[in-house]
């Protein structure tokens, strides 16, 4: 099976949207375009109860075929990598389940196979997760209440690139922040295979009093579509043979 290329948007926010189109609708649209939307709600470490509006986090991710989690700032690094990985596995499993249904008939999923065969299928899913190419567009809510969390966000993103770059497959990351008065979202880092040079990226941010999550997601989706197709680093060789496929 061909590992292919997975596309994800990772939205980091701490509140609910209050401007423009419904982010849930945009997330559904993204999913339709083959882009998974993951959402992480970031809480202050001393915050006791979940603020209102964070349920939106779950709805956006659900519509976007992705994974959502609400976490305290101090656990952000581990969460960012877990969520991204889970979403990858989920997408790959979806594809594998589709294949299984074609072979075994409607309604058959991995979970319904006897343990022996299931064991073999999860190995295939695991291999694909190791070898597939991945594009992650990180969309950071940088409204006023997020400002003091941005250093942690930066650290978590560096950590994400460390985790993903240990894989065999290639990675591409880009970072956008919103709101931006001119164009809804602002490109902080263009597509790059590593996020180790991101010092000072969140230093010059203007913050408005509104959170246009929906429009921002849509802009993010556009920038996926307009992304120039960069050369696959596996071009010219057959990685699957080597990998035992």
């Amino acid at each position: 099976m061909k590992p292919g290329r997975l596309k994800q948007i990772l939205l980091l926010t701490d509140g609910c949207s209050n401007y423009g189109e419904d982010p849930v609708v945009v997330a559904a649209l993204a999913r339709n375009q083959g882009v998974t939307v993951n959402v992480i709600g970031v809480l202050d470490d001393e915050q006791r109860n979940h603020p209102q509006g964070l349920e939106e986090v779950e709805s956006i991710a659900e519509a976007g075929g992705g994974v959502s989690q609400i976490v305290y700032q101090k656990n952000l690094s581990q969460t960012v990598q877990t969520v991204t990985r889970q979403a990858m596995t989920q997408t790959i499993q979806g594809v594998v389940n589709n294949e299984l249904q074609q072979i075994l008939g409607q309604g058959k999923t991995m979970e319904e196979l006897p343990p022996e065969q299931r064991g073999e299928v999860v190995e295939v899913v695991d291999d694909l997760g190791e070898m597939c190419d991945l594009e992650v567009l990180v969309l950071v809510d940088s409204s006023a209440s997020m400002h003091h969390k941005l250093p942690t966000v930066k650290e978590a993103l560096y950590d994400l690139s460390l985790s993903l770059n240990a894989r065999t497959g290639s990675n591409q990351f880009s970072i956008f922040s919103f709101p931006d008065p001119k164009s809804t979202i602002k490109k902080m880092i263009d597509w790059t295979p590593e996020l180790d040079a991101i010092h000072g990226i969140f230093s010059k941010l203007s913050s408005g009093g509104y959170t246009p999550t929906g429009p921002a997601l849509k802009e993010a989706l556009y920038s996926f579509a307009s992304k120039p197709v960069e050369k696959n680093r596996h071009d010219g060789e057959d990685p699957y043979e080597e990998a035992g496929f």
């Binding site: 690094s77 581990q78 990985r85 596995t89 499993q93 991995m110 979970e111 006897p114 343990p115 299931r118 064991g119 299928v121 999860v122 190995e123 899913v125 695991d126 190791e130 950590d159 460390l162 985790s163 993903l164 770059n165 240990a166 894989r167 065999t168």
Partner: protein, 304 residues
């Protein structure tokens, strides 16, 4: 992810959907990231049984367990017994697997009141197991104190879920033991990834509450090591490991064994006796002899 909507009370029985074996739950042993582990009984034998929600992850664990119960004739993880699905009365399906029950003590409890030389001895045991695992082309990955039990004065792994083929990405890790977190290397599976985790386990024996990386992770590490109450030869080996001196578990083990086998010199004996007024010279010697015997036994065993 669906939540576990059951809570087994002692005496509950559960039957596998595919194999049909019935297990009687005795008590809860612990809770992990993706499931709950129970002590259970079948045909008079006790086992550990793990029930979870994430079917894929459970299956990957089973695959690893099957592979690593024994490597090259050496027992590494717990033995694999059974894997199956359990259907609840409300028709929900949960995957479970059964493995050998390793009875033992958590490492911190075991080390309580023992001399600091045990830090090195425990590390030597860990490194011996790692040697075999690495020879098979795998890193342990999520090597941490919670995944270890001391059974008959011997450290054993109880969770092999993080075992990863060399060259692949480590997917499961715990920040304190992860060299990536400390800025000391990548998260690619290789022998040195585990060696770093061993040094952190050694440090944790001195700092049971662990510590965070702070502004300058390297500085924090070296500062904590300098202040750590452990034999100097341990510190030397840890520093060596951080500097990339050891390529294999065997090399690092040799470094520690050299320190362990050295007779305490007169001056160090005196300084230790004065530093620890409560313990007499005699008991220190007794302990030293006991450790030497254990190390010798260990040497003997690893030659077999």
């Amino acid at each position: 992810m669906k939540k576990l909507d059951f809570n087994f009370t002692p005496g509950t029985t559960l039957q596998g959907k595919w194999q049909g074996h019935t297990y009687r739950i005795l008590k809860k042993l612990g809770e992990g990231a993706c499931g709950v582990v129970y002590l259970c009984k079948r045909n008079g034998h006790t086992y550990a049984l793990k029930v979870g929600t994430d079917s894929s992850r459970m299956m990957l664990e089973v695959n690893m367990l099957k592979k690593f119960s024994k490597v090259q004739g050496v027992k590494l993880g717990p033995s694999f017994v059974d894997v199956d699905d359990w259907v609840t009365p409300r028709r929900l399906t949960y995957p479970f697997y059964v493995m050998e029950y390793v009875q033992g003590q958590p490492l911190p409890a075991f080390l309580q009141g023992k001399s600091k030389d045990w830090i090195a001895l425990t590390a030597v045991q860990l490194l011996s197991d790692l040697e075999h695992l690495h020879a098979a082309g795998y890193a342990f990955g999520d090597l941490k104190t919670e995944n270890l039990l001391v059974s008959a004065s011997r450290v054993r792994w109880i969770d092999v879920g993080g075992v990863t083929a060399f060259g692949r990405a480590i997917k499961e890790f715990t920040e304190f033991y992860d060299r990536g977190y400390w800025g000391c290397g990548s998260r690619k599976s290789e022998a040195q990834y585990d060696l770093f985790a061993v040094t952190m386990i050694m440090l944790e024996m001195v700092y049971p509450k662990r510590f965070i990386k702070g502004k300058d992770p390297h500085k924090t590490l070296h500062h904590k090591l300098a202040l750590a109450q452990m034999p100097d030869f341990c510190k030397k080996v840890i520093t060596g490991c951080w500097q990339g001196k050891y390529q294999t578990a065997k090399e690092m083990k040799k470094g520690l064994e050299k320190g362990l086998m050295k007779r305490p010199s007169k001056s160090s004996r005196v300084s230790r006796a004065t530093a620890k007024k409560s313990s007499s010279d005699r008991s220190e010697w007794g302990e030293w002899i006991a450790i030497s015997i254990l190390v010798t036994m260990f040497y003997g065993l690893s030659w077999l």
